[in-house]
């Protein structure tokens, strides 16, 4: 697999949220505004890439029997690093994302990539895999959070784009909106990928 394929694989073909559908908790919870979505996407990408790099670098040093606890410690360490950095430098975002920052550690996508990719591949490939999966995660977060912010607030990144007369659809930024809109988004992706397949065939 060449480098571009590795990236594209995570970004589109096996998009963690829209295709693999893992790591949903934070996706549903904090996508109430685009800023939050981007913040969470970047935080997850950072942890994912960082832990992928370290795990692939250490893959010969870590005995097979204890690899899962070792991975968990490494991932938890990166999560804590992000937690501290955000607490210090992007405080508003830190408050908005709340408990979902430490919860990056149990985001299945990260342990899954450690186990399925980083523990078997070299550092460079693992870095690209982390960035690709992270970018795919970020893409899904951006899509969902922009939809929710536009519908629920009439704004994007805080700038009003729908006229004042637009009655915000509160439901969109409330919990039900998260479930329903993500469901529809996944349905749309299914539909598009089916069309693409049909074209190829």
């Amino acid at each position: 697999m060449n480098k571009l394929d590795i990236f594209k694989n995570g970004f589109i073909n096996e998009n963690p949220i829209l295709v693999q559908q893992v790591g949903m908790c934070a996706t549903l919870a904090i996508t109430t505004s685009l800023v939050n979505g981007i913040g969470m996407g970047v935080a997850v990408t950072a942890v994912l890439t960082g832990s992928n790099i370290v795990i692939s670098a250490l893959r010969k040093f870590i005995p097979d029997e204890v690899r899962i606890p070792a991975f968990v410690i490494i991932i938890a360490a990166f999560t804590t690093i992000i937690d501290l950095v955000m607490h210090a430098y992007t405080f508003e975002l830190y408050q908005a994302l709340g408990v979902f920052i430490p919860l990056i550690v149990v985001n299945c996508i990260i342990l899954a990539r450690a186990e399925a990719f980083a523990s078997k591949n070299g550092v460079l490939d693992s870095t690209i895999d982390g960035l690709g999966m992270g970018a795919g995660y970020l893409l899904a977060m951006i899509l969902l959070s922009s939809i929710r912010e536009i519908l629920g607030n009439g704004t994007i990144l805080g700038f009003r784009i729908l006229p004042e007369a637009y009655e915000p659809m509160m439901m969109s930024v409330q919990p039900p909106g998260a479930f329903i809109l993500l469901g529809l988004l996944i349905g749309l992706v299914n539909c598009l990928s089916k069309k693409k397949k049909a074209k190829k065939a």
Binding site: P63, A77, Y89
Partner: protein, 188 residues
């Protein structure tokens, strides 16, 4: 068999130790900023109301260069903020500063609010380690509320010190006056 357990445990231990070491270093270098952020966040509505009635938030002042230049000239000054109400209207300036005269146990850190008309709108203590029950009374509204409405065109001289805690009271006053000087020098 036993050897391999030692090895497994050893590897995990090394990884955990390195992780903990890095985190300890990072924690150490971010903890001041984090503490400051938390202090800002924990600014309860009571503090906002005491410093600038009607305000919902203190924002960073619009011109960071000015804040920087005040900092370089006045070492006790911490920050300059703009108090806004719920609809984002500016209500006045808030100076965050340490006292220039020490109390019993080091300096006190205060918020001092100024209205556009040049009056002190209110004062609230952020950090103080004055003696519990005596000097600490300088942090209570009975004492701090006397500054609200005072004219800010010159240093305040007349005030009622907490009896038995003159030193703490003077330390408190020095912070207020430091803020008044900053206000007159830079914001008028």
């Amino acid at each position: 068999m036993k050897n391999s357990y030692v090895k497994l445990g050893g590897v995990l231990f090394i990884i955990a130790a390195i992780a903990a070491g890095i985190l300890a270093w990072l924690n150490d270098s971010t903890k001041d900023l984090i503490a400051k952020n938390d202090a800002m966040a924990s600014m309860d509505p009571q503090v906002l109301e005491a410093v600038m009635p009607g305000s919902v938030m203190f924002n960073e002042y619009e011109d960071p260069a000015l804040v920087k230049s005040i900092k370089s000239e006045n070492e006790k000054f911490v920050n300059l903020l703009t108090a806004v109400d719920a609809s984002d209207n500016e209500l006045g300036y808030v100076v965050r500063t340490w006292s220039t005269v020490a109390g019993y146990d080091g300096d006190m850190e205060l918020f001092i609010g100024f209205s556009p008309e040049g009056k002190v709108t209110g004062v609230s203590v952020i950090t103080s380690s004055e003696t519990e029950g005596l000097g600490s009374r300088t942090t209570e509204p009975e004492f701090t509320s006397q500054f609200a409405g005072k004219d800010a065109s010159a240093e305040i001289v007349d005030f009622e010190a907490v009896s038995g805690a003159t030193k703490s009271s003077n330390s408190f006053l020095s912070a207020v006056n430091n803020a008044i000087n900053i206000y007159n020098q830079y914001l008028k």
